[in-house]
Structures are given as C-alpha cells and as structure tokens.
C-alpha cells in the first residue's frame, strides 16, 4: 500500500544511509546506456544533443536511476540538464541520496 511518496521504487540506497560512490554510479549508468542503446558512451557526452535520444528514453533513464539507486526524482530535479551526461546524472544521484539520508537522520 502506498501511504506517502513511496510509489517510485522500492528504496534501496546503501543500507547505512550513505550515498553511493559516484564512480560506481557512473559505471552502472554506462552499462545501462550501452545495453539500452547498443552504443558505448563517454561519461561527458551529451545524450540528448541533436539527433540524440528520445523523450521515451529520457523517461526510461529517470526510472532506471530511481530504481537502481533508491531515489525519487521529482519536480525541478526532472529538468533535462540533470540527465544530459553520465557525470551530471551521477552527481544528481549522490545529491538526492545525501538529501534523503539527511531528512531521515535529521
């Protein structure tokens, strides 16, 4: 039963409430991207530059990040600038995990 804002995914951040290592997040994301697009990507390549990925793909990325890293991405955090490259997505994951941990412990 959904009682609050837990519809996004079964939350599974690191059990101690800490954030995932950004390097680990990047590696996982690069694996997902390669599997989904059949292309290998550089961490700083703009995924949505001209001729790039579709809006369906953007939504898939949002959902994948939420499920893989136990975060919930909402509101202004859904702006495209947070998803353009693997590096900025890893930064988003780290920030949201830290925020979630802060609100749980604080």
């Amino acid at each position: 039963m959904r009682t609050a804002d837990n519809w996004a995914a079964p939350a599974s951040p690191p059990a101690d409430g800490s954030a995932s290592d950004p390097e680990t997040v990047q590696q996982e994301l690069l694996r997902f991207l390669e599997a989904r697009t059949r292309t290998s990507w550089d961490p700083d390549t703009d995924l949505f530059a001209a001729g790039g990925q579709s809006s369906l793909f953007a939504l898939e990325l949002v959902l994948h990040l939420e499920k893989s890293f136990g975060i919930s991405i909402r509101g202004t955090d859904l702006r495209l600038d947070n998803f353009r490259t693997v590096t900025v997505m890893a930064a988003l994951v780290t920030r949201l995990q830290q925020q979630a941990a802060g609100s749980q412990h604080g």
Binding site: N6, L63, L80
Partner: protein, 373 residues
Amino acid sequence: MADSLAAAVAAVQSLIGDRADAWDLARLIPVPLLRELGAAGLLCAQVPTGYGGLGLTSLLGGELTAETGRLCSSVRSVQTSHGIAAWTIQRFGTPEQRHAWLHRLTGGELAAVGFSEPGAGSDLAGMTTTIRRDRDEVVVDGHKAWMTAGHYADLLVLFCRYEGGAAAVVAPAATPGVQVRRIADPLGCRAAGHADVRLDSVRLPADHVLGGVGLPLPLLVTTALAYGRMSVAWGCVGILRACLAAASRHAASREQFGKPIGQHQLVAGHLADLLVAEQVATRVCEHAGRCWDAGSADQVIATVLAKQVSAGQAARAASTAVQVLASAGARDGQVVARAYRDAKLMEIIEGSNEMCRLMLAEHALTLATEEGQ
C-alpha cells in the same frame, strides 16, 4: 490491498450501475455522482493514502479502471483525465503542491488535463499556450482543444511553454479569462464532457506552476501521458469485457435456423475472437502494470505496447460484437453500439495508433542493432 480493490470495485459498480446508456444518450453524467466518485478516491486510486487516495498499485488500479470502463467509458474517460492530473501533480509538484492539490483531487473536486491544441496534436512541439511570469503571479494565454472532462472540471492542469522550457500549471476553471466550451457531439465517450478551453490573460499565483522552470516539454508530456496510456489501455480491457459478455449472452439465447446462433460456426468464430482479444489485452496490461509496480524502466515501452494492443483489440472487438448482436445491438442505448463508438476514440487519444507504432518501431530498431552485432 486486494480488499481495497474489492471495495473500490463494489463502490464503482454501485455508483454507475446500469445507467451508462442513459448518460450516453443524455451526453452528460450527473456532476454529484462524479464528485462522489472523486471524494471516494475512485478517480485517482493510485494516489497514496497520505493524500486521501486509495494507494492502489498500478496493477490493482488498472483492474479498477477496467471495471469502470466495462460499465461506462465516459466515466472511465473522466477517471483518466483526473488521474493524469493527479499523477502530474505527484510527479512534478513540490511537497507543498502535492499536499495542497492532491487532497482536493481526492476530496470531490474534479480535474482535467490539457495537452492538445488546434495546431498541436501528435506534434506537441507545436504547442503555443504560454505561461508568462509577472512578479509573484503568472499569466496563461492560449487554447486547449478536446480536454476530456473539461466541462466538469473545477481544476484544469494545463501543459504550457514556460521560460524556454515547459511546465504544467493548475488553473481553477472559475478563474477570470478561462472560457470552457463543451463539445456537444463527440463520436464516442459522449458523456465524458470534452471541451475546448480558451485562456485569455489568465492570472494565477506563481505557485500554481508545478515544478518550476527548465523542464523539457517532451519529458513532461511523456511522463504525464504514460499514466494516461495505462488508463486508456485498461479502459479498453473493460470495453472488451463488456463486448464479450454481451455477444456471448446474445449468441447463447438468440435462435435462428432452429438453434442458438452461437452454435453456427461463423458466429462461434466471432465469440472465440472476442475471448482472445479480451485475454490478449488483459495480459499485456498486466505485464505493463507489473513493470510499473517494480519501478522498472521497461514500463515505458510496456505502456506504449499495452495502449496500442488494447485500443486496437477493443476497436476490432466492438465491431465484431455489433456484428454478433446485429439488429439487437445496432442502435444508440445498446452496450455494443456504445462500445463501437467509444473504442474508436481509444485508437486516437493518448497517442494515436500511428504514434504508438512509431514508438514501437523505434524500440524494434534498437533490438535489431543488437542482432546485427
């Protein structure tokens, strides 16, 4: 959770009853009844209980949608529009906005969403309705076409251009500058309250804009429509169940050439086709619902697939059901005639057949690349 679904299904059955054909003929659903459905949380059943919703999973919410659609596609269309509004607020609203608006959507106020415009249907990049910031207010100007439930709505959730990106804004229908004109003669879902909405210098507090600036229009629309596609897909399952039941009942009782027509092989073939259609649509919707409940990224394509399959199956099956009932079903006020008109619209809204096929083809091409390597 299963108990919640059973109670929700019983409430919908009791409130709609056998009145769908009368509402279809009158082209209106009584507003107090819609408010009662809304206040019971039945128009957006997946909203968490903390906001007054029923907190159903996608899978169980889908079953409720199918039951609503089995009884009345007009009510189900209101449910779809209201549900997209709630989902958009959940996804794009701040915690304060979710708290403020979701309680109203589970408290009896009715909401509708506006995507299409006279010049922007499938190509939403052509959208011109605009939000402009003016100190602590925003001003909305534009024109939304075919807003399902717009005639009934207290709150309009409008998708607009905003400062180089896009945003959804919540506009009370009573705001000066909002003009809602009901479309009195739609082909199907005749009581769903479709409306054209003109927005002329509509001033709203700036905190009515969901999620602030910088959202990309395609992601905003795709996210919102994903909920709507699931709702339409399950609604089509409901149409299929209504058609299967009506055709089977008729074929078992109507006698020609000395036996029930269901024992004539050509008619029997129609019944088999109806059963297959209902099962295929149900299974593909269940798969998508499970992807949603698992939080899987696969839900994106599974949702498009569910919408495409269910709408196509419903449109064909409704035609088949009219064929089986023949003169007994070929007039307004008959369930299969209503299904025939309603199902056709389902091939058009929330991503036309053609748009869904393009998305599925794009997905197929990524799979083909893998085989080639």
